[in-house]
Symmetry: C3
Subunit: 140 residues, 3 copies
């Protein structure tokens, strides 16, 4: 069983879509199985992170913005792929460091997420984007 | 087929559980198939790494401790999620940079790990934790 | 269904093998399903990245070479696993930060890669290597 989730983003940061995923799995009739998510982009990532304190999401964004400065930062003067804007190549770099796919076992109709685990798109571009996440669900 | 592996950790570092995984696969009766591991936490990671020289594990720990300093380091003064201790937000950051799930083909009853590949939990917190890794195994 | 792709590398950088993968999937007779790739090494990674502008690949190599300097760089004097050369431990570190496995849904006989997404081996060692990528394909 397959579907595609669409996540509208509005600048760098984390966008949770856990409920869309768990609702789709619950409605599928699959009890035990395996869920796979795959983001069809090279400038955004999938992430499993804590969804209790929103500061975690802000701190993640702040950390990676410092780890991978924009192309107009002097520290990044060596970058050559800059025609699509100073946030473009840093987005590709972040996309290399964080997951493009996630695989989550399903038991009793639910992905086995831990208590505080949420599923996010981590948008790495400044401009709004519509992100497509392909989903695959197989029954045991 | 599904199970959960429990790994007791005692501070930051790598904890190998390759034998638990390969024993479970070997005992399952599955010849060819696909193995999936998923860690149910946001402050520890799964890692496939060299298991020959223990210095590799120490160097990995040392590198990531420098790349993501604790929240009481002046370089990290911008962090806001600090109520759970100075090692907490760095743990979430490291968990974003390293795998939460692993998918490994199985052939002839064995995960197709390379000669030196071991399967680890990378604990990012200072205090002892009990980590749960959900496992899924399907036959071809 | 399983196979192994062999990718010959010649120094640090990205080596695309998208066509080998899509040809194998197309020839398998599988319409809808799930593709899994797993690299059997701890000093090279799998990567999904933009395959339009080759500068992206050069910039990725340049960024990670700076993020993880070689062991003979004074900043890395704390490394202990250095007997296999100054590029060895940095290779293990990069392999921890980038994917060892990828899972991609398959629809209509094709992996659902985005328009610009290519599949690469990211070689982290200086010397030429022959890299093995195990592949698994299941039909829905």
């Amino acid at each position: 069983m397959q579907t595609t989730f669409t996540i509208e983003t509005n600048g760098q940061g984390l966008y949770e879509f856990t409920r869309q995923v768990t609702a789709w799995v619950a409605g599928s009739g699959v009890g035990d199985g395996l869920l796979t998510l795959f983001i069809r982009h090279t400038s955004a990532s999938l992430l499993i992170q804590e969804n209790a304190d929103p500061d975690v999401q802000g701190d993640l964004r702040a950390y990676f913005a410092r780890l991978v400065p924009k192309a107009n930062d002097p520290a990044m003067a060596y970058l050559r792929h800059t025609t699509e804007g100073p946030d473009d190549m840093p987005a590709h770099i972040k996309a290399a460091m964080m997951p493009v796919s996630l695989s989550i076992p399903v038991r009793g109709g639910h992905p086995v997420l831990g208590t505080w685990q949420g599923i996010y798109v981590f948008e790495h571009r400044d401009a709004p984007h519509r992100r497509a996440v392909a989903a695959h669900l197989m029954a045991d």
